[in-house]
């Protein structure tokens, strides 16, 4: 490899320079829209808060087992920006700590769903019209025949209520959507000339699937992943709202809303701020995802 590099006449052929170049172009397109940049800032804020939660929260000890009846049900004030809950824990601290599990869930669910969905979707798409296609896609159809939130709820219901099982339940209801998307992309890409050329030169099926077809699905996959972080968090919150996710005293956005709803008119801040936090999370990742879609779409400059 080294010798080849030395004889290359100009640096553009260097893959690193090329990647950097295309990244620069993507960033240029991305930064044209101030909403996308706002989304990026929101996403970075959420990740920063989640990673450094013990250092940035005013009351890090309130994330676990903690009781302070003297300060229970405090309305928002300078001591407690978002108030305190029924046993005196600072709501802002608990929201920031719950971002950790929300993001962890999104990462786990999406990495498994994307790998599984891409693998099955690519295979079915490349062999579309054969028996492999029929088996994979009809199984997918069955999973897609109920809304993911109901499937995830019912799977989580029969398992033990833990964060791990909630992740399993959401993953099972999430992967078929990636299969379906990759399938429709792969089954049209396989008719492109470059795929046919690779077939004619005798490239292996693995090479064709992963080096010819997959890179051309990647922009759609990245866009969907960025958007899905918000939606996975939402379904995760739904599970914990029902009581099927992370168990108390660990903080979870859904659990906090469920607790707050019972205190509704009097102590409105207990439910409202976690609800706004979910809104912030989904909005951030949506703006970011839309920005990625615009930046990666090839047609317009």
């Amino acid at each position: 490899m080294m010798t080849e590099k030395m004889f290359t006449p100009d640096a553009i052929e260097d893959p690193w320079v090329r990647t950097l170049d295309s990244l620069k172009k993507t960033w240029y397109k991305f930064s044209r829209n101030w909403l996308s940049v706002l989304g990026l800032v929101m996403v970075f804020t959420i990740i920063f808060l989640a990673v450094f939660a013990p250092y940035v929260t005013p009351y890090p000890q309130h994330a676990g087992k903690f009781v302070d009846f003297k300060n229970k049900n405090q309305p928002p004030s300078w001591q407690h920006l978002m108030g305190t809950d029924t046993i005196g824990r600072d709501i802002l601290s608990r929201i920031i700590f719950s971002f950790r599990n929300a993001l962890l869930m999104a990462i786990v669910v999406l990495s498994v769903s994307v790998s599984l969905g891409t693998l099955t979707g690519l295979t079915a798409g490349y062999y579309s019209g054969t028996r492999v296609d029929i088996v994979i896609m009809r199984v997918t159809d069955v999973f897609i025949s109920i809304p993911p939130i109901i499937l995830a709820l019912s799977i989580a219901a029969v398992l033990k209520p833990t964060l791990m099982n909630a992740m399993i339940a959401v993953t099972i209801s999430w992967w078929p959507w990636y299969t379906r998307m990759t399938y429709s992309l792969a089954s049209s890409i396989k008719n492109e000339y470059y795929v046919q050329a690779a077939e004619l030169t005798g490239a292996s099926k693995i090479y064709i699937l992963f080096s010819e077809i997959l890179p051309n699905c990647s922009s759609s996959l990245f866009t969907k992943m960025a958007l899905d972080v918000g939606w996975v968090t939402l379904v995760g919150a739904a599970l914990s709202f029902v009581g099927l996710g992370e168990q108390p005293p660990k903080p979870a956005l859904g659990t906090m809303i469920a607790e707050g709803v019972e205190r509704m008119p009097g102590q409105w801040w207990i439910a409202l701020f976690p609800a706004l936090a979910i809104m912030f999370l989904v909005l951030g990742f949506n703006l970011f995802g839309d920005g990625i879609r615009d930046a990666l779409s090839p047609e317009e400059a």
Binding site: V142, P147, P148, I150, A238, V242, P265, L272, M279
Partner: protein, 342 residues
């Protein structure tokens, strides 16, 4: 191609999906940790009683035989007994499903009427202040989940301004109308009791709005963009050049192709509303199937869980068929595809 054969093929496909769904539900019901017979009888029941129930429940047979027997029972409408309410699941579902159906029905009306009219108006006055306001709000609507809307609406309209009731299906003391369909608004109208109808309807407004806002915003956005795409097509300009009245161009030739993608999305979203209803019903203390579903889920009531999922799955599949038929009616090209699948 005619619509008839298309519908037949579509139905055949959904029978297959329904069959697959039944396998999925059976698997979910069987991954419960622990012995279902023991769960039914409780920890203090003697061993021989548990053993007898195991035989009654066919738990001693191989798995595929168990599935066959279960499917046979389900096909005859027998979903087993609920461990929680100690009643047949079928009876429970009959009691709670109409309330949810009523709620989702009103939600669907909100979504369709408001979503399409907002989208059409917004496309008609594209790039004006009205359009910009609608676009901004539809973005906010989409990213705010239904249960966050529920909390916000409840605070604003229930507690700050006292415009709408926030709990249950009827005001306390109001006697529900005699059961005909189980849906209070329909039953009270059939009985000519306008006062009860109004009360039930007022109770539905907040939960239905919370459920409708995200899909409605989505529908408005998609209607707008698909109208805007079609507006710029050559056939539209030539029609305007011929002097075809504006009403006919918009109402007939523009609306029909533009509604295809919004209808597809709305169908999926209305079906997904049954899922979000789980949270919204709990927040508003609305005694529907979803609230029942949460209770049985927390109690690992396997028969009831599979009953609820089965009913919702059937509703979802039916909705999908209806949407596909409407779309095939609107778009002749789709009828040519094999059974409408891709």
């Amino acid at each position: 191609m005619r619509l008839g054969p298309f519908i037949l093929r579509r139905l055949a496909l959904s029978i297959f999906v329904l069959f697959g769904l039944s396998i999925l539900i059976f698997i979910i019901a069987r991954i419960v940790p622990g012995d279902p017979a023991r769960l039914t009888l409780g920890p203090r029941a003697p061993v021989y009683v548990v053993e007898r129930l195991r035989q009654q429940m066919h738990l001693d047979k191989p798995l595929h035989q168990q599935y066959g027997l279960w499917l046979w029972e389900v096909a005859h409408g027998n979903l087993g007994d609920s461990l929680l309410t100690r009643r047949p699941v079928k009876q429970d579902i009959k009691e709670f499903f109409p309330a949810t159906l009523e709620l989702v029905g009103i939600t669907a009306i909100f979504i369709i009427v408001a979503g399409i009219s907002l989208g059409v108006t917004s496309a008609r006055y594209a790039n004006t202040w009205f359009d910009n306001v609608v676009r901004l709000f539809s973005y906010l609507g989409i990213v705010t989940p239904a249960f966050a809307w529920a909390v916000i609406l409840m605070l604003l309209f229930g507690f700050v301004w006292h415009l709408f009731p926030t709990y249950g299906r009827l005001t306390e003391g109001v006697i529900p109308p005699p059961t005909i369909t189980g849906m209070y608004t329909v039953d009270s109208l059939l009985n000519g009791r306008l006062d009860i109808f109004w009360d039930a309807f007022m109770h539905l407004i907040l939960p239905a709005t919370a459920l409708a806002l995200p899909p409605m915003s989505q529908a408005a956005r998609i209607t707008r963009s698909s109208m805007a795409d079609n507006q710029n097509k050559d056939c539209m300009s030539s029609m305007i050049a011929y002097g075809v009245p504006d009403k006919v161009v918009t109402g007939k030739y523009l609306l029909k192709p533009s509604l295809i993608s919004p209808i597809t999305v709305m169908g999926m979203d209305i079906a997904a509303t049954f899922g979000y209803a789980f949270m919204v019903e709990k927040i508003f203390g609305f005694p529907g199937l979803a609230r029942y579903g949460i209770q049985v889920m927390l109690n690992k009531d396997v028969n009831a869980i599979s009953g609820v999922v089965l009913v919702l799955g059937v509703v979802f599949i039916t909705l999908n068929i209806v949407v596909d038929i409407i779309v095939a009616y609107l778009d002749p090209r789709i009828r040519l595809l094999k059974g409408g699948i891709r």
